[in-house]
C-alpha cells in the first residue's frame, strides 16, 4: 500500500500525525512537497521591472546589482523544501520516501497521487469555522481531482459544530 502525504509549510505536522495514526505499518509512505513557481516569479518580475539597470545575461554572484533575486529564491526554495521533509521524516519516525516536486502545486499533487492508495492532506483555507471555505483553491482542486481515496485533516483542532450557520428557513 502506498500512502502519499502532501506537506505544506505551516500545516504539515497534522498530515504527518495523520499518517502515523491511520497508515498501516506495512504501507510505503511518501512525503511530498511541491514548490510553486509564483514566489520566485514575482521576484523575477520585480527585477525585470527595474528599467535601465543593464542586467547582464547569465548568473551573477549574490549581492551584485545584476544578480536576479528570483534565481536566489529558487535555490533557497530547494533548500527549505529539503529541510521541511527532513523535519517531517523525523516526526514520522519510520522509513519513508521523500519526494520534491516543482510546478503548478495542485496539479503536481494530483499527478503524484496516481497509483497511490491514500492521499493525506490538510485544510488550507479559513479554518475558523466548519464549512467549504476551510479548503483553499489548491486543496479544493486536489480533493476534487484525486485519483485515489483522500484523508483530509484539520491542521489544528477542528472548530465546534456551532460554527455552522443555522439552516435557511423552509420555503413553501
Amino acid at each position: 500500500m502506498r500512502v502519499i502525504a502532501w506537506l505544506v509549510e505551516g500545516t504539515w505536522p497534522a498530515c504527518v500525525d495523520a499518517v502515523r495514526a491511520h497508515a498501516p505499518d506495512d504501507a510505503e509512505v511518501v512525503l511530498l512537497h511541491v514548490s510553486g513557481p509564483d514566489v520566485p516569479a514575482v521576484a523575477h518580475g520585480a527585477f525585470a521591472g527595474l528599467l535601465g539597470r543593464g542586467h547582464p545575461a547569465g548568473h551573477r554572484p549574490a549581492g551584485d546589482w545584476g544578480s536576479d533575486p528570483g534565481d536566489r529564491l529558487e535555490a533557497l526554495g530547494g533548500t527549505s523544501a529539503a529541510a521541511l521533509l527532513d523535519a517531517a521524516a523525523e516526526r514520522l519516525g519510520r522509513p519513508c520516501v521523500r519526494e520534491e516536486r516543482s510546478g503548478r502545486v495542485e496539479r503536481e499533487v494530483v499527478a503524484a497521487a496516481e497509483g497511490a492508495e491514500l492521499l493525506v492532506l490538510a485544510r488550507d483555507g479559513d479554518r475558523s469555522r466548519l464549512g467549504p471555505k476551510s479548503l483553499g483553491p489548491a486543496v479544493r482542486f486536489a480533493v476534487d481531482h484525486a485519483p485515489c481515496p483522500v484523508l483530509l485533516v484539520w491542521p489544528e483542532p477542528a472548530p465546534a459544530l456551532g460554527t455552522i450557520p443555522p439552516p435557511p428557513p423552509h420555503r413553501h
Partner: protein, 401 residues
C-alpha cells in the same frame, strides 16, 4: 529606445542604445545643444547621488546588514506569520526609504524569503510585500527612488522639506498596503508553523554600516539646511563604507565601480536627453491638455491617477520624465502628486509596467509564471486605496506645512 530597453536583445545593457539615441537627438537638432546641456547639468547631480546610494547599499550588504536584519526579524517574529509580516513591512519600508528600491528588490527579498522559510512560515505574503513596498515605500526621501531624484531636482524643494511633505503620504500608503495584505493573505497568515524551528544564532551587529547610514541621513538634513548639495553627503557615506571594504580587502576598485552601476547611470542621462527631445517636439502640447492645473485635492488626485496610468503603460522612469516638465510650473504639490502616481502605480503589474509584462509573456523567459489573476487582484485592491489615501495625506501636508 524604450522598446530596446524592455526587449534587450543579446542581454546588452540598455545604455548601448540609449547613449547613441541621445547623440542622434542632439545631432539631428531634435533637441538644441543648449537644452541638452541644461538637461545634462540638471541630471548630473542626480546621477551622482544615485551612484552614491547604490554604492552605500552594496557595501551595507557586504557588511552583513541585510543578513542581520533577517536574523532580527526571525527572532522577533518567532514563527508567527502575522508578526513576521509586520516586521517585513517595517524593514522593507525603512530599507526602501533609505537605501533605495533596488536594495529592497535585489538584496532584501532573498533574505526575507530565507527568513520565512527558515522559521517555517509560508513565504508568499512576505515576498509579495517586499515587491509592493519597494514601490509604495519609496515615497519618503529623494534617494528612495530614481523617480524621486529626478523630481527632486526639478521641484526646487530642499531635502528636508521634501521628506517632511512626503512623510504623511508615505505612512498612509504603507498603512493602506498593510491592511490590504492582512486581508488578502489571511489564509496564508493563519497557517502557524511549529514553534520549535530554530531561529538562528544572534546576529553580529553591523555597527559600522548602521552608524555610517545614520550619519549620512543626519548629514542630508544638515547639508540641506546649509544649502549644500545632498549628493555630496551620500558620496561621503559611500566612500567611508567602500574605503573600509577596500582597506579590509573585501572589495577591489573594480567592484566599487561595479557597485555604482555605470551602465545604469549612462542610461539615466541619455534617457533624460531623449525624453526632453520628445517633449520639446510636441508631446508637451498633447499632455499639456491632460494635466490638471491647480493644487486642490481634485487636481492632485487627477495628476496622481494620470501618472499612475502612464507609469503602468510605459514604465515609471520615462513617465516621470514626461510629466515633470508639465507639473513643475504648477508647483511642488503637483510634482509630488506625480511621484505618488509613478511610485505606487507600478504595483498593478508585477513587472512594473505593461510593456515589460507583455514582453516577458511573449518570450516566456521562465517556464512557469506568476498567477497573473491573483497578483492583479492584489494590485487592484492595493494601488487605488494606497494612492487615494496618499494623495489626501499629501494634500493635508501641503495645507499644514
Amino acid at each position: 529606445m524604450l522598446a530596446w530597453a524592455v526587449v534587450r536583445p543579446f542581454g546588452w545593457p540598455e545604455a548601448v542604445t540609449a547613449v547613441p539615441a541621445a547623440g542622434i537627438a542632439v545631432a539631428t537638432g531634435a533637441i538644441s545643444l543648449d537644452h541638452a546641456r541644461a538637461e545634462a547639468e540638471r541630471l548630473g547631480p542626480v546621477v551622482g547621488f544615485l551612484a552614491a546610494v547604490l554604492v552605500l547599499a552594496h557595501f551595507c550588504d557586504v557588511e552583513g546588514l541585510f543578513q542581520a536584519c533577517g536574523a532580527w526579524t526571525a527572532r522577533w517574529a518567532g514563527g508567527r506569520p502575522v508578526r513576521l509580516l509586520t516586521a517585513v513591512f517595517a524593514l522593507a519600508s525603512a530599507i526602501t526609504a533609505v537605501l533605495s528600491l533596488d536594495a529592497t528588490i535585489v538584496l532584501l527579498t532573498p533574505v526575507v524569503f530565507a527568513t520565512a522559510a527558515r522559521t517555517g512560515v509560508r513565504p508568499k505574503p512576505h515576498v509579495y510585500a517586499c515587491t509592493h513596498l519597494s514601490n509604495t515605500a519609496s515615497l519618503l526621501l529623494p534617494v528612495s527612488n530614481l523617480t524621486n531624484l529626478l523630481a527632486f531636482a526639478a521641484s526646487g524643494l530642499s531635502f528636508t522639506r521634501f521628506a517632511a511633505l512626503m512623510a504623511l503620504p508615505w505612512l498612509a500608503a504603507i498603512g493602506a498596503e498593510y491592511l490590504v495584505f492582512r486581508r488578502f493573505f489571511a489564509r496564508d497568515l493563519a497557517a502557524a508553523a511549529p514553534a520549535d524551528r530554530d531561529t538562528g544564532e544572534a546576529p553580529r551587529l553591523p555597527l559600522f554600516a548602521l552608524v555610517t547610514v545614520g550619519c549620512t541621513l543626519a548629514g542630508f538634513v544638515v547639508a540641506s539646511a546649509f544649502g549644500v548639495e545632498p549628493a555630496w553627503v551620500a558620496a561621503a557615506g559611500a566612500l567611508v563604507l567602500a574605503g573600509r571594504a577596500l582597506a579590509r580587502r573585501k572589495a577591489t576598485p573594480l567592484s566599487v565601480v561595479r557597485a555604482a552601476a555605470p551602465a545604469f547611470l549612462a542610461f539615466v542621462l541619455a534617457l533624460g536627453i531623449v525624453v526632453r527631445a520628445v517633449v520639446d517636439n510636441g508631446l508637451a502640447d498633447v499632455l499639456g491638455h491632460l494635466v490638471p492645473s491647480g493644487t486642490g485635492l481634485p487636481a492632485l488626485l487627477g495628476i496622481a491617477a494620470l501618472a499612475a496610468l502612464l507609469a503602468n503603460l510605459i514604465n515609471n522612469l520615462p513617465a516621470v520624465l514626461v510629466l515633470l516638465p508639465l507639473a513643475a510650473p504648477v508647483g511642488p504639490g503637483a510634482v509630488l502628486a506625480v511621484l505618488l502616481g509613478v511610485n505606487i502605480g507600478p504595483n498593478l503589474t508585477y513587472a512594473g509596467s505593461l510593456a515589460t509584462l507583455l514582453w516577458r509573456r511573449i518570450v516566456q523567459q521562465h517556464e512557469h509564471d506568476v498567477d497573473l489573476g491573483e497578483f492583479t487582484r492584489l494590485g487592484l485592491l492595493a494601488v487605488p486605496s494606497s494612492l487615494a489615501v496618499a494623495v489626501v495625506a499629501l494634500w493635508g501636508s501641503l495645507q499644514v506645512l
